[in-house]
């Protein structure tokens, strides 16, 4: 009985003692080797969402907090937290936040596979960047979305889908981190203020007849929308209409006159159709 007790008590005592020594050593080391950190970092870190998504470009919220606290990034630099986070962080930093506009990514191309033709059969890597390097990609329009989804894999929030060969942003999921803007080799994605429904769904600067040959829904630069817009928000440059989102009043007059359906209501579902003429 005594032996049993000793064989249990002894190891427990040894290990308990060892743990105690390690604990004291660690506590002592933590004191001796203490690194002073800015208390602001901790406060900013607490105000951030803490999802460590990496949308800000830092590895996690800790990196973002250090950057904000040291003044290298603005208080609203977290794209995910939105206005509430920006306000909380601004309070910690002691600055007043003017109202921030929420942005959303938009893809400016309507050239679905069914509306365009293929220049050649592409069998390379499933990547827009790779395909774009080969004669601007297989799609008939050199400006068109290639649909291999470089933006889809860049998006940390799953806010982009490919519908019939063209990327489409699910605006409810978009956190405006701008990763897709950088990922698109065709520079088709841009950030616009939320709540503006009308979009010139084309980036082609080619002349009208060429656009028409390449794609059923391209902007041919006819200028009808420019004339009809009551807010004079639309301008025409390089055979391409452009809506200024700051002036646009969401009236929808432009969409009615566009002969090629190049101006679209982004809230409406994508229309799939067959190409009318074969080239």
């Amino acid at each position: 009985m005594n032996d049993l007790l000793a064989s249990m008590v002894f190891p427990v005592a040894v290990f308990g003692g060892m743990s105690l020594v390690f604990g004291v050593l660690l506590a002592y080391a933590a004191k001796v080797f203490e690194v002073k950190t800015d208390p602001k970092i901790t406060e900013v870190r607490a105000a951030l969402p803490g999802t460590n998504c990496g949308a800000c470009g830092f590895a996690g919220c800790d990196g973002m907090a250090v950057s904000i606290a040291s003044g290298r990034s603005k208080p609203d630099a977290c794209p995910v937290g939105g206005e509430a986070t920006a306000k909380a962080v601004a309070e910690v930093m002691g600055v007043v936040m003017t109202n921030t506009v929420s942005y959303v990514a938009r893809v400016a191309c309507g050239g679905l596979t069914s509306c365009t033709t293929q220049k050649y059969a592409y069998e390379g890597m499933k990547s827009c960047t790779a395909a774009a390097a080969l004669h601007n990609g297989p799609k008939s329009c050199p400006f068109g979305c290639l649909g291999f989804g470089d933006c889809v894999s860049a998006c940390p929030f799953g806010a982009i889908t490919i519908i019939d060969g063209v990327a489409k942003i699910v605006e409810a999921n978009c956190k405006s981190c701008e990763r897709c803007v950088a990922a698109c080799p065709k520079k088709l994605i841009s950030m616009v203020p939320r709540g503006k429904n009308y979009l010139v769904n084309c980036r082609s600067t080619q002349k009208g007849p060429v656009v028409k040959k390449n794609c059923d829904v391209g902007c041919i630069g006819c200028g009808k929308c420019v004339k009809v817009c009551p807010a004079t928000a639309i301008t025409l440059a390089n055979n391409l209409a452009k809506i200024d989102p700051l002036l646009c009043t969401n009236c929808g007059e432009c969409i009615k006159v566009c002969p090629t359906n190049a101006i679209v209501d982004v809230t409406a579902p994508v229309v799939l159709w067959k190409r009318a003429t074969t080239v």
Binding site: V14, F15, M18, F22, A29, A30, F33, E34, K126, S153
Partner: protein, 192 residues
């Protein structure tokens, strides 16, 4: 000298921790998406494994064996490794900030890594002395890094490939891991 050469080569190639002993699979799959992070993790593992093997060998030879408590080695090793990694982290943060930045988040991640504990336990079952254990730990870390870096290269290529929907992500990575592992089985019998 010959013995050390054998220990190093067999820990790296023949008995590779990841690909032959299947230890440390979680970081192998978790941080092998990019070559850069794989190299960072590998560096941290080499560092911790060498230190941990040294510390556990000392603990085993000079504390556990004299007290006749070899049966508690697993418990003791975990305790020592965890305390050691914490201690190293605190010291590095103060003394060598660049290295602390480089090892970053990987250091605490390795605290309870099975490969680190495995190196310590296998050194005991191979009856290595303190120096041999340390060398063994270092070589095992190098082997781990080699596997991780090789595999991250493979995974970067898989990202570009057209993988069937059902196999995207982890399934494709596991198949690739199996193939890499099989190729390492070619080293079996290298020193036989």
């Amino acid at each position: 000298m010959n013995t050390y050469f054998l220990i190093i080569m067999s820990a790296i190639l023949v008995d590779n921790f990841v690909l032959s002993k299947f230890l440390g699979i979680c970081p192998f799959l978790g941080v092998s998406k990019k070559l850069e992070t794989a190299a960072g993790m590998g560096g941290a593992v080499i560092f911790v494994m060498t230190l941990a093997s040294l510390a556990t060998a000392v603990l085993y030879q000079f504390v556990l064996v004299p007290l006749g408590m070899e049966y508690l080695q697993t418990l003791g090793f975990i305790l020592v490794i965890a305390a050691l990694v914490q201690f190293v982290e605190i010291v590095l943060k103060k003394m060598v900030p660049p290295l602390y930045q480089a090892l970053g988040i990987y250091l605490p991640l390795i605290t309870t890594n099975c490969a680190v504990l495995g190196a310590a336990l296998l050194a005991v079952s191979n009856e290595y002395d303190v120096l041999k254990s340390t060398v063994y730990g270092f070589a095992a870390g190098v082997g781990f890094t080699l596997a991780l870096v090789l595999f991250s290269g493979v995974r970067e290529k898989i990202e570009m490939a057209d993988v069937p929907d059902a196999l995207k992500g982890i399934p494709a990575a596991l198949i690739a891991a199996a193939l890499v592992s099989m190729s390492f089985f070619g080293f079996q019998g290298l020193f036989a």
